[in-house]
């Protein structure tokens, strides 16, 4: 039985019944990776012996009730996993063996998941194509000469290529949604604070959020069930009651109000993306939803706001990489030189660029004009969404304005930043959003549509996304 083209729910039920042992699942997964990953390059650290060992442990377990029992899950390399190399796609962390598990890793283990390995990413999650990985490029499984998107490109590609059933990524300004759209899988960025960040290597602390990739909306909902929840180790995690995110899947969405953002029209969209957007809106209407126009007047300021706030936070978050306690150390003639050599050699160009932007926007004399100003505009953007959500239950907009681009084709950083123009505003407001496959362009590259939910309303968001998915023709198959 080919396990890898099945859904999370299917695999867990097969594994639970013992029809196929977890070890067999592990072996199939390893074979798939061995076969495909030399071309896709989704994984950056993988230890096959450890995977087999974990599968045997799972097989030996009496309690097989975990929601992810036996399900092969890949995780982005910015999540700490005890006794394994955790590098966040950076040379500066090469060789770093984490002494602890991130909360999500703990939760995956508790849910019975078979963690298969760490996936490639843009260095410290800074990028939209995974080309900023210090190690190698990841290829889009749909068309290998195209990027998989980023920064969670490896996690999206692993699911698309059937090298894992589901995966975890992290999203700061679109790093789950954009690669989901580019690879043609489903990617969910939960509400900020829904999933613990403890053990996630920080890029921009006020924006980072872990979320799942899956083949279907339901897969991401089950994954969210496994990883969500208040964590006393993360002061920014929201104190919520336990919820079942699959609860509303399949319930009809008749009468739900879905907002179309007026200002999105100001941006140029690839023709096929525009058509796919219209098709999706129609699908929503077919399912009984009511479409309304809403306005996010400050939408166009989201990108500059993001590129001030995220680098500012990053400049501090990345200061700990000084070569003293772990990772790369390049000795100089004195300590100062050791710092500089370590950091200059250890960080890639985009990371250095963002550290320098952040250092500048926080520096004396510029703080008010940049960091503080951006934080105020962030408030206005958040208020815009609040206002929109007083009228509608969810928003719909394209995940990206274009489909995936060719590896190496974008070299200008500002042009690269534009890829996240539709995902960033939602991140700034801390809202949950999901990207689902909605079609393909002429070249056969996937298109993704983004649905945005109310604060902490993942259940309802997933319900609507599920309805759209059904209307559009089901799992992954567009």
């Amino acid at each position: 039985m080919d396990i890898l083209n099945k859904t999370v729910e299917e695999v867990a039920s097969i594994a639970r019944s013992g029809e196929v042992s977890v070890k067999e699942i592990a072996e199939q997964t390893i074979n798939a990776i061995k076969q495909k990953d030399s071309k896709i390059k989704a994984f950056v650290h993988i230890d096959f012996d450890a995977v087999i060992k974990r599968s045997e442990e799972l097989d030996a377990k009496k309690d097989k009730s975990g929601v992810l029992f036996g399900v092969p899950v890949a995780i982005k390399d910015n999540m700490n996993m005890k006794d394994t190399e955790t590098t966040a796609g950076s040379k500066i962390l090469s060789g770093y063996i984490s002494p602890y598990d991130a909360t999500v890793v703990e939760k995956l283990k508790n849910a019975g998941a078979l963690i298969v390995g760490k996936t490639n990413m843009d260095e410290f999650a800074m990028g939209s194509s995974t080309e900023n990985s210090a190690f190698f490029n990841t290829h889009n499984p749909v068309k290998p000469e195209y990027v998989p998107g980023g920064s969670s490109g490896g996690s999206a590609a692993a699911v698309k290529a059937n090298e894992a059933i589901a995966s975890l990524g992290s999203d700061t300004g679109g790093s789950i949604r954009e690669p989901a759209a580019f690879c043609g899988v489903t990617g969910l960025k939960p509400t900020y604070g829904r999933v613990s960040r403890y053990g996630l290597i920080a890029f921009a602390s006020s924006l980072d959020q872990i979320g799942p990739f899956g083949k279907t909306v339901k897969d991401t909902a089950i994954m969210l069930n496994a990883i969500a929840g208040f964590d006393p180790r993360d002061e920014t995690s929201v104190q919520t009651e336990k919820e079942d995110f699959t609860e509303l899947l399949g319930k009809d969405i008749k009468g739900k109000k879905i907002g179309v953002i007026k200002e999105v029209r100001d941006f140029e969209l690839q023709e096929e993306v525009k058509n796919s957007f219209n098709d999706t809106v129609k699908a929503l209407q077919n399912a009984g939803a009511i479409i309304e126009e809403v306005s996010i007047p400050h939408l166009k300021y989201a990108l500059p706001v993001y590129y001030i706030i995220a680098p500012a936070e990053a400049s501090a978050n990345l200061a700990r990489f000084d070569g003293v306690r772990y990772g790369l150390k390049v000795e100089g003639k004195d300590l100062r030189e050791t710092y500089e050599k370590t950091r200059t050699e250890g960080f890639g160009t985009e990371v250095k660029r963002r550290i320098l932007i952040g250092t500048f926007t926080l520096s004396a004399g510029y703080y008010d004009a940049y960091y503080l100003k951006a934080s105020k505009v962030r408030r206005l953007i958040s208020n815009d969404f609040e206002k929109a959500f007083s009228k509608v239950d969810a928003l719909i907009l394209p995940t990206t304005s274009t489909t995936a681009f060719k590896l190496g084709s974008i070299t200008n950083p500002l042009q690269m930043y534009m890829n996240d123009i539709f995902t960033i505003p939602i991140s700034l407001a801390g809202l949950p959003a999901i990207s689902i496959p909605s079609g393909k362009d002429k070249k056969g590259l996937p298109i993704g549509m983004q649905l945005v939910g109310k604060w902490l309303a993942e259940k309802e968001l997933l319900q609507i996304a599920y309805a759209v998915e059904q209307e559009l023709g089901g799992k992954n198959g567009i």
Binding site: V238, Y301, E340, L356
Partner: protein, 91 residues
Amino acid sequence: MDLKKYEKLAALNLSEEEEKRISKDLTDIINYFEILKEVNTDNVEPLVYTKGAKLFMRKDEKQKSLNKESLKKNRELFNGNFYKVKKIIGD
């Protein structure tokens, strides 16, 4: 933009070539930020903590610290005890 100054603050020391490349990008990016000047933010509270952020406090109770072996996997400890760095004060 005085790139050298920010390199110093960020403990970076770029090569001339890299400086040239990054310098132009940074100028473009910072110019792009100018668009924010259009926005009236009088009497607007900055947003740092998104909705629902509520500080909670832990009890003053000991938790397990890391064992030395896990530290040593990542860095040799001088005398088995100390992190060793080149002297702090340069000449």
